[in-house]
């Protein structure tokens, strides 16, 4: 319903920059994830959109309206807090009705909208309960209903699923996405959980030290990370550093040539390649390898058996490589065995250090 534009937003706490010249445009109806480690500025950015944080420089617009100097209560936003922040002295109904009541919406309309919203989050019949009598997942739904009932322009979620256990989290992720689609509201949500960001969002921005390292659709960011940080934070990655050669080649560990079309032709400074562990394949030495153009010989130094998958640590000369395999073999390769690790050149990405 609304577009959020963030231009050159900067904020310092003391001397450390919490946000450093952040530019971002969140499209209408989009679910946008801010992903980063703690202290990366993702929460500060969310709170700047909400109006709790005053940027020192830059501007935030919602639908072209400048948010500068507009207090929180006049920004027309909905927000779900990390620990829900439900009003403990009010019933579920009164919690959800709060935003309508401060806007002096008529009683009959309030009742109707609150009931419709509680039905949307599947909490019909809970109107008279107190927040203290609800489970974590139910509290989360009440918080969502409360934030949506005023039909805000933007929905902000601050680690909304962080306080739930893993199973409930999965379920709520799916529900959250469904509700967001149904309502069609522009949504910004903060998380440090990369899987959550990947499964839920239309687009992701990865933040580090107050800067946006990379943004784009989850698949694009995951498959084509731009920096070592982005590759490492969103998923796992193996890195190889070496001198580029002509024709998209690089001298990898043990002087072995690695192929990647992205390697710049001008043989200048060193480049770093990133390869996702699940893109790599492993075979016992002597057995037929995959035939992929990039391959390294090594010795298995560690085996992590996780049921559906097996993770291998393989020492290839001076570098150690992580390989993630589906558990298809009758017996996993044992520690100490000699192996060949291989992968395709188009699964290899050049990243900035």
């Amino acid at each position: 319903m609304s577009v959020v534009e963030i231009q050159g937003v900067t904020k310092r706490f003391g001397t450390t920059p919490a946000l450093d010249d952040v530019h971002l445009r969140i499209e209408e109806g989009e679910l946008f994830a801010l992903l980063g480690p703690s202290g990366s500025g993702k929460t500060t950015l969310l709170r700047a959109i909400a109006g709790f944080v005053d940027p020192e420089a830059g501007s935030i617009h919602i639908d072209g309206d400048p948010m500068h100097d507009l207090p929180v209560h006049r920004r027309d936003i909905g927000m779900v807090f990390q620990h829900y922040a439900l009003f403990p002295h009010m019933s579920v109904f009164d919690n959800v009705a709060f935003g309508l009541s401060v806007r002096h919406v008529a009683r009959a309309e309030t009742a109707e909208r609150v009931r419709a919203m509680l039905a949307l989050v599947q909490l019909d019949g809970f109107e008279e309960r107190r927040p203290g009598q609800l489970s974590g997942g139910q509290q989360q739904r009440v918080a969502l209903a409360r934030a949506l009932v005023t039909r805000p322009r933007v929905l902000l979620l601050d680690e909304p699923l962080g306080a739930l256990d893993k199973r409930l989290r999965r379920q709520m992720q799916i529900e959250l996405r469904q509700i967001q689609r149904e309502v069609g509201i522009t949504t910004v949500f903060v998380t440090h959980d990369q899987e959550e960001a990947l499964t839920l969002s239309d687009r992701i921005a990865i933040l580090d030290a107050g800067r946006i390292v990379q943004s784009g659709p989850p698949q694009a960011v995951y498959e084509r990370p731009r920096t070592v940080f982005a590759a490492d934070f969103l998923g796992d990655a193996n890195f190889f550093t070496g001198r580029p050669q002509a024709g998209g080649r690089m001298l990898g560990p043990g002087g072995k040539e690695l192929l990647c079309a992205e390697i710049p032709g001008d043989a200048g400074a060193e480049v770093t390649l990133a390869v996702r562990p699940e893109k790599m394949r492993i075979a016992r030495a002597g057995e037929p390898a995959s035939g992929d153009a990039n391959h390294l010989e090594g010795t298995v130094t560690g085996v992590l058996y996780a049921g559906s998958t097996v993770t291998y640590r393989v020492a290839c000369g001076e570098v150690e490589v992580t390989v993630l395999e589906q558990n298809r073999e009758a017996a996993p390769i044992a520690q100490g065995e000699a192996v060949t690790v291989s992968w395709r050149p188009d699964h290899t990405v050049v990243v900035e250090p």
């Binding site: 929180v72 920004r75 403990p88 203290g132």
Partner: protein, 278 residues
């Protein structure tokens, strides 16, 4: 056989321990409540000189009803305590909110300065106030006593309300703001209701500090004006009559009532959202 003997010994020791603890507790409670009980009993005894045997009477309560000095002192005490409760609770709650929700220069220093009035002897504070009030022309009187009582009870209010405020953080108020509530709506509909048990507790504290106050009242009361503690003190000095027992008994009953009321309020309001039902 050996095992059986061992099984008995620790148990016997535990029994002795429980027994000793019981005696200990009885001694402490007796030490606290026997004098009060004796006073209450003597309020109903006919003899002026506390002579036994006990002859029940309500004559001292009747005399009390005719004792205008004591009644006037009681009215002063109650009026002063009520006024003090309102002023100290409002000011103290505002101060606690400022400490908890805002950052400003000198906040730490100000917070530190709150505590000495609790620990400095009242005698010294009373003397200081008397000198100061004379010097700047406030003088003595009920208004001066009220000022003194408010100054004394403010730190208690700030501490009690502050503890309650610290227990819920700013998230509730932030949530209210995102839902469109202006600062006043947020305060009235979210902060104050959640804060209420703390405010009630603080008000009871403020009332008690003022109602019990002797030293400050004694220093700041002009001739002819007194409060109940001051009046009881002078009654004792002039010659003890069981009327004092009677008035003290009434005060004790009222105080106990307040304590019970407080306990009820705190149990029901102190835990967020009827947590007792869980």
């Amino acid at each position: 056989m050996n095992g059986g003997a061992q099984a008995v010994t620790p148990r016997a020791r535990r029994d002795t321990g429980t027994w000793l603890a019981g005696i200990w507790l009885a001694l402490i409670l007796g030490f606290l409540y026997l004098p009060i009980a004796a006073m209450a009993v003597m309020a109903f005894n006919e003899s002026v000189l506390y002579e036994l045997p006990f002859k029940p009477t309500t004559i001292w309560f009747e005399r009390l009803a005719e004792n205008e000095r004591l009644i006037r002192a009681s009215v002063n005490s109650i009026g002063l305590a009520l006024a003090n409760t309102v002023i100290a609770t409002v000011l103290g709650t505002m101060a606690a909110l400022a400490f908890a929700r805002y950052t400003f220069r000198g906040k730490t220093l100000l917070r530190l300065l709150l505590f000495p009035p609790i620990t400095i002897p009242w005698l010294i504070i009373g003397t200081a106030m008397l000198v100061m009030f004379f010097w700047i022309g406030i003088g003595r009187g009920l208004h001066a006593m009220l000022l003194g009582h408010v100054a004394l009870s403010l730190p208690y209010v700030v501490v009690v309300v502050g503890a309650r405020l610290a227990s819920f953080g700013p998230a509730l108020e932030e949530a209210a703001a995102t839902l469109g509530a202006n600062p006043w709506q947020t305060f009235r509909r979210v902060t104050l209701p959640v804060l209420a048990p703390g405010v009630v507790a603080a008000a009871l504290f403020a009332f008690a500090v003022s109602f019990d106050q002797f030293v400050i009242s004694y220093f700041l009361a002009p001739p002819g004006v007194s409060t109940l503690p001051v009046e009881i003190y002078s009654a004792i000095r002039k010659g003890f009559t069981p009327e004092v027992n009677a008035v003290s008994s009434i005060i004790i009953v009222v105080s106990m009532g307040v304590v019970l009321l407080f306990a009820r309020l705190y149990r029901f309001g102190g835990v967020p959202s009827e947590g007792g039902g869980r």
